[in-house]
């Protein structure tokens, strides 16, 4: 037993970078999971991905003007992310274009702009680190940023919970109630952008979406209530971060993909055996239904 304990905990005792990585990815997971649950509920699961691309031009501008400065890239990403979120939201509310299509259009434009800006400067090496994160090399400033954003996100989500749930389940009701739904939605998008921008410090802009969506889709198979799903998504994300870091340590593989794949494993296990709509459960229900049908037919004969 002692041996197992050593295996599971010793890397984090021996190495400060492992503790930092765990702290950073936990902070991220706690905020990103609940956000992901809302994205799943609103059928906007691909929006996280779209937004991750949308912040790229801002990050690139920050990088081009100030080099590898965290502040410049964070501010840049935040600005373009918010611009895209607001514009896409406005277009979808004011025109018949649906929100997903609107986001797709904006993110493709920003992606093009981002790649163009990156190509202006010869070395894209540093930017690749931005896209894929440096979970093992988190600086104190990055750690602070992630923790701060995570706290803000959780507080804001708690404050807007009721409005957001109503907006998810019955948007027409809120639309008749006035502007509060629109504001809640904008606030939600702002939180999303904040988390993506903070998350690129940890997992990179592309993989931060994974820690957001995978625990959320997995949680959906275990719990019915929205609140429960949010808590479970945060826990699953934290577990995946821990497992991914251990895998990276023992199997000698890159850390952030290991974290995302650990979350992916949780997702597929949930799809298979989750009590709410999991494959096993569905198969059992079909069998039970067939048995009941046979039973009733036999009863009719009798």
């Amino acid at each position: 037993m002692m041996h197992l304990w050593d295996l599971l905990v010793q890397p984090f005792i021996d190495f400060g970078f492992m503790r930092r990585a765990l702290a950073g990815s936990w902070a991220l997971a706690f905020a990103a999971g609940p956000l992901g649950v809302f994205l799943v509920l609103r059928r906007l699961s691909l929006m996280g991905d779209a937004m991750a691309h949308a912040i790229l031009p801002g990050v690139a501008v920050g990088f081009l003007t100030a080099g590898l400065s965290m502040t410049a890239m964070t501010v840049g990403g935040l600005v373009t992310g918010v611009i895209v979120a607001v514009l896409a939201g406005l277009v979808s509310r004011l025109t018949p274009l649906r929100e997903d299509a609107s986001f797709a259009a904006f993110y493709l434009v920003s992606l093009g702009l981002g790649v163009l800006l990156v190509s202006l400067k010869g070395t894209n090496l540093d930017l690749i680190h931005v896209l894929f994160g440096t979970v093992l090399g988190l600086s104190a400033a990055a750690l602070l940023l992630v923790t701060l954003v995570s706290s803000i996100t959780l507080l804001a989500l708690a404050g807007m919970f009721r409005v957001l749930v109503t907006e998810c389940l019955d948007p027409l009701f809120l639309r008749t109630e006035g502007r509060i739904g629109a504001w809640a939605h904008m606030g939600f998008l702002l939180l999303l952008v904040l988390n993506l921008v903070a998350g690129f410090q940890v997992l990179g802009t592309l993989m931060v979406v994974g820690i957001m969506m995978l625990p959320a889709t997995a949680a959906r198979f275990w719990v019915r209530s929205v609140g429960g799903q949010m808590v479970l998504a945060a826990i699953l994300g934290a577990l995946a971060s821990y497992a991914g870091l251990l895998v990276s340590y023992y199997a000698d593989v890159a850390a952030s993909p290991a974290i995302i794949l650990a979350a992916g494993a949780a997702h597929f296990v949930s799809v298979a055996v989750g009590p709410y709509g999991g494959l096993l459960q569905t198969a059992r229900q079909i069998r039970a239904g067939r048995a009941r049908l046979l039973q009733s037919m036999e009863n009719d004969h009798a």
Binding site: P11, D14, F15, G16, F17, M18, R20, A21, L68, V115, S119, G122, T123, N124, L125, D126, I128, H129, L131, F132, T134, L136, G137, L138, S139, L206, L245, S248, Y249, Y250, A251, D252, V253, A254, A255, S256
Partner: protein
């Protein structure tokens, strides 16, 4: 996703390059009054050597210019056009310019290719590390237990960074001079005269820095860095190399690799960790902070600085790297960057 990006970018660049090449073929450029030999060098270090040898007798273009990374280079239409018009192409070889075959095809280059590394004894990663381990065992029987872990090194793959040994640099210069002379026999004597003068400089510098580095006690001569580009350097000047990630400067380090490097840094009493110029490796900063060692100055591996700065020439790069190492090893650490 990164792969996808790269493929997209490379595909686009190739399309543009092909377009440019096609246009160039449609309307052949009027014979320029320029009588000088047109030479293209693949990256900044070769360009500097070629400039030393060719002087004013050649017109030199460089594909991967100063401050740019040859590993992630994507050719532009301009590059294809420059190459298409060139009479001589100077490449490093040893698999360094992985993007070159496609660019050659796109540009329709018909001239002479000079492989600068020809004749250099290639260093195979696995062999060299095995050799280093053996060496180490004689003097350091205690601390070689986990040295030389391959972090993504493919066994037997060739390390292309041969110019990091000034002895090889001499061979490079000779190859370049011969190539230029064959392409432009009219200036043969000028090329060889300049090459000889340059080689004398290289030899003198080599002897001088070899002596300075040898003055540092052997156990302090450890170069811990993020990119395994200093294998030839280490072998030539008796420096042990600890590297965080493998040969590719893109690879993200694993937690295992970080932990191994940290253990080695601690076990072998490494006094400083060096960043590679242009890769603000957060991971390496973290290793330095955690092990409580100095973060040495940024070293140049496969690119030079813009003209006018310290490391803007091949010799300048060597001078800079040696200075950073000596400063860190002798205790008074140079400021990073």
């Amino acid at each position: 996703m990164r792969e996808l990006w790269r493929h997209l970018g490379a595909g686009l660049a190739l399309c543009l390059a092909l377009g440019a090449a096609a246009r160039a073929q449609e309307a052949p450029a009027p014979q320029a009054p320029e009588a000088r030999l047109r030479v293209v060098a693949s990256f900044s270090i070769l360009a500097d050597m070629t400039r030393e040898v060719g002087g004013d007798d050649i017109r030199l273009d460089v594909l991967v210019g100063p401050g740019r990374d040859a590993h992630t280079f994507e050719p532009s239409p301009k590059d294809a056009r420059a190459l298409g018009a060139a009479q001589v192409l100077v490449v490093n070889g040893l698999g360094f310019e992985s993007w070159m075959p496609r660019l050659l095809e796109a540009s329709g280059f018909k001239g002479r290719t000079v492989v600068a590394s020809q004749g250099v004894a290639p260093r195979h990663l696995s062999e060299a590390e095995a050799a280093r381990d053996e060496e180490g065992h004689e003097e350091h029987p205690h601390d070689e237990a986990d040295a030389g872990h391959g972090h993504g090194h493919e066994a037997g793959s060739v390390d292309p960074h041969a110019w990091q040994d000034l002895g090889n640099g001499v061979q490079y210069v000779q190859n370049i001079a011969q190539g230029l002379a064959r392409a432009d026999p009219a200036h043969e004597s000028a090329y060889f005269a300049r090459a000889d003068a340059y080689i004398r400089q290289l030899r003198k510098a080599d002897a001088q820095w070899r002596q300075q580095l040898a003055a540092v006690p052997e156990e302090r001569r450890v170069l811990a860095t993020s990119h395994d580009a200093f294998g030839y350097f280490g072998a030539a000047y008796g420096i042990r190399i600890l590297s965080l990630v493998g040969l590719s400067s893109e690879a993200e380090p694993s937690a295992r690799a970080m932990a191994d490097l940290l253990k080695q840094v601690r076990a072998q009493h490494v006094s400083a960790v060096f960043l590679e110029h242009g890769s603000g490796s957060q991971a390496l900063r973290q290793v330095a902070a955690e092990a409580g060692v100095t973060l040495g100055g940024a070293l140049y591996a496969d690119t030079l600085e813009q003209p006018g700065q310290d490391a803007s020439t091949y010799l300048g790069m060597f001078r800079w790297n040696t200075k950073q190492l000596l400063a860190a090893w002798q205790g008074d650490a140079a400021p990073a960057q």
